[in-house]
Symmetry: C2
Subunit: 346 residues, 2 copies
């Protein structure tokens, strides 16, 4: 028999996005069936949630519903909701980490508000000054962890170094890579490249490498991300956000070109028919539904922000990630490494 | 009969890259046949050039060879070659702008050296402080001009504003777009996004828009580049370089996935066979050979840096671009607009 304490409990903010509650529950059910002893604390409309849960009897016995009808909307300003929307599903799901035995949060809502409320309530882990947003990127050899993708647009050496430790812990937990390599994004691989902040950061990362705290590769350039040159890519939130969105846009453009080309003539259509399987495997590799999760890392509990228009596949994937992060004690790993780094500095 | 003065004369640096002289001459010949009254001043090995020119009798009568045997190598430091390699093909081709009637330069050599030598010898146009590197990007609707791609990694308001004017002149000349729209790359489209430099730049660009000097769209984000939201995208050289290389890497990764997928089974292979035409049109749209040209803009003569491993198709495309830039009097347009901007500021 499962003891209550063996459950992995996650709080789910079910309001404030384009995603339907039906999608959210369907996605959670998929993840629930894939992962043992998973339990969800659902924040949202009791009536709607109960209605959707009717379809999934096993899941229904492994959730708790906390009724909320206040919603943080996509265009609400983070600085305002902090004060005004204390009964919203987002605010209460974050608060549940402090008030209940929930261990992590999943939301499809307003990114800025989610970050502001998480930072304010959960606080950063250990000596980390600012959390980062990380994501799993496809590359030619598999996947890599890229961070920061927009939490902090200012380039700052301490933030980049913390990101190296955060990214290393994420790569070892999520991608099961032992001693993952870390690359610092720059305009070229040569040691002389980049501005003062990058130069200083690279030196400090080399020292942390010597001490065995990270496995530092050195500078990498934009094309090295999809070439899978390192397992972890670190950068400031401005550059990371531009890189992420440029890559997403490029992938979408190519897929559109491909689709249109394959429709362009009868013979192409015939080709497209036969190539369907191959093309669907390509689509799966690049599926934005599974790569669009923003992992807020460096806080006292893992938070995942799903894309606002996620379908059930995206939700299931995000719930799987949270399960792995909790099971793999990612925050203990981070804390341990940050403290090792700090003690070495003294 | 063609008067000598009607000729479009361009200086070609034929040494210092992976590209063979055979590729360069073949590419120039293609462009020569496509464009009336084109003339090339070739800097490099007289013996090799004469040997290659034997194959192209019409071209042979429309070139001048300036023998050089000193080469600026790919790993030479720009700060050193400025002093030491005054007889190199690169140095002499740049100098020819001042000493002969050559109007522009094409090189496949060391980018840093080409920029340093061009800046030193050609100087910037009008009140422009620093030249930029621009490129033509494919997008869902056609093409756009993106700059800077790495000439200046520091973010600076004046540089970004100059880039708006440079990009506008390039888009109207190369893409034949009347009143091209200009977007400033940021982490989101909302007015509040970005750092102080971007905020200030956006305000000044709005003023230039009101005065009719540019057609300012506002902030755009990474995915807007390939969505073709604006005809011109301006950014600092650090961000632009990361965006360019990330996009190139993503495109290459997808094409590799696609190729591997189509080889994965007999039925996929059959599909690939029928889809060949469609896939080749995709390949053409994304052909890095035609999108890998760096256009140095803001100098007293146009300079194009081809990829170091360009084949004849890339060379021909670059020579075509230079022809259009000269024919379209791009530098007069730039000068005119920069002076209008400066007089408005007073």
């Amino acid at each position: 028999m499962i003891k209550k304490s063996d459950l992995i409990k996650v709080s789910i903010d079910t309001l404030g996005s384009e995603t339907s509650i039906s999608n959210i529950i369907k996605g959670l059910n998929t993840s629930f069936l894939r992962n043992d002893n998973y339990f969800f604390r659902l924040f949202g409309s009791q009536e709607q949630l109960n209605h959707e849960l009717k379809k999934f009897s096993a899941l229904k016995n492994n959730v708790e519903i906390i009724h909320c009808d206040e919603v943080i909307e996509m265009n609400d300003k983070p600085s305002e909701v902090i004060k005004s929307k204390k009964n919203s599903s987002m605010f209460r799901s974050i608060k549940s980490i402090l008030e209940t035995d929930s261990q992590a949060i999943l939301s499809c809502g307003n990114t800025g508000a989610l970050m502001a409320l998480s930072l304010l309530n959960l606080k950063t882990l250990s000596s980390i000054k600012r959390p980062a947003i990380a994501s799993i990127w496809p590359n030619i050899n598999g996947e890599s962890i890229v961070l920061d993708l927009g939490a902090n647009i200012k380039s700052d050496s301490q933030f980049l170094i913390d990101n190296a430790i955060l990214g290393t812990s994420l790569a070892s937990t999520l991608l099961k890579i032992k001693n993952p390599t870390v690359g610092l994004l720059n305009v070229g691989r040569e040691e002389s490249k980049g501005n003062e902040v990058l130069q200083k950061t690279s030196q400090e990362l080399s020292e942390l490498d010597t001490k065995g705290l990270i496995n530092y590769f050195g500078f990498i350039e934009g094309s090295d991300i999809s070439n899978g040159v390192t397992n972890v890519v670190i950068t400031d939130g401005f550059t990371g956000n531009i890189a992420l969105k440029t890559a997403e846009g490029t992938a979408r453009m190519i897929q559109t070109f491909l689709k249109n080309s394959l429709k362009s003539s009868l013979i192409s259509k015939l080709g497209a028919f036969f190539a369907t399987f191959a093309l669907s495997s390509l689509k799966e590799k690049l599926d934005p539904r599974v790569h669009n999760c923003g992992i807020f890392v460096g806080l006292n509990a893992p938070v995942i922000k799903c894309h606002g228009a996620s379908d059930h596949v995206g939700i299931a994937y995000a719930a799987d990630l949270l399960y792995i992060l909790i099971k793999g004690n990612v925050n203990d790993k981070i804390k341990n490494n940050i403290e090792k780094k700090d003690s070495d500095y003294i």
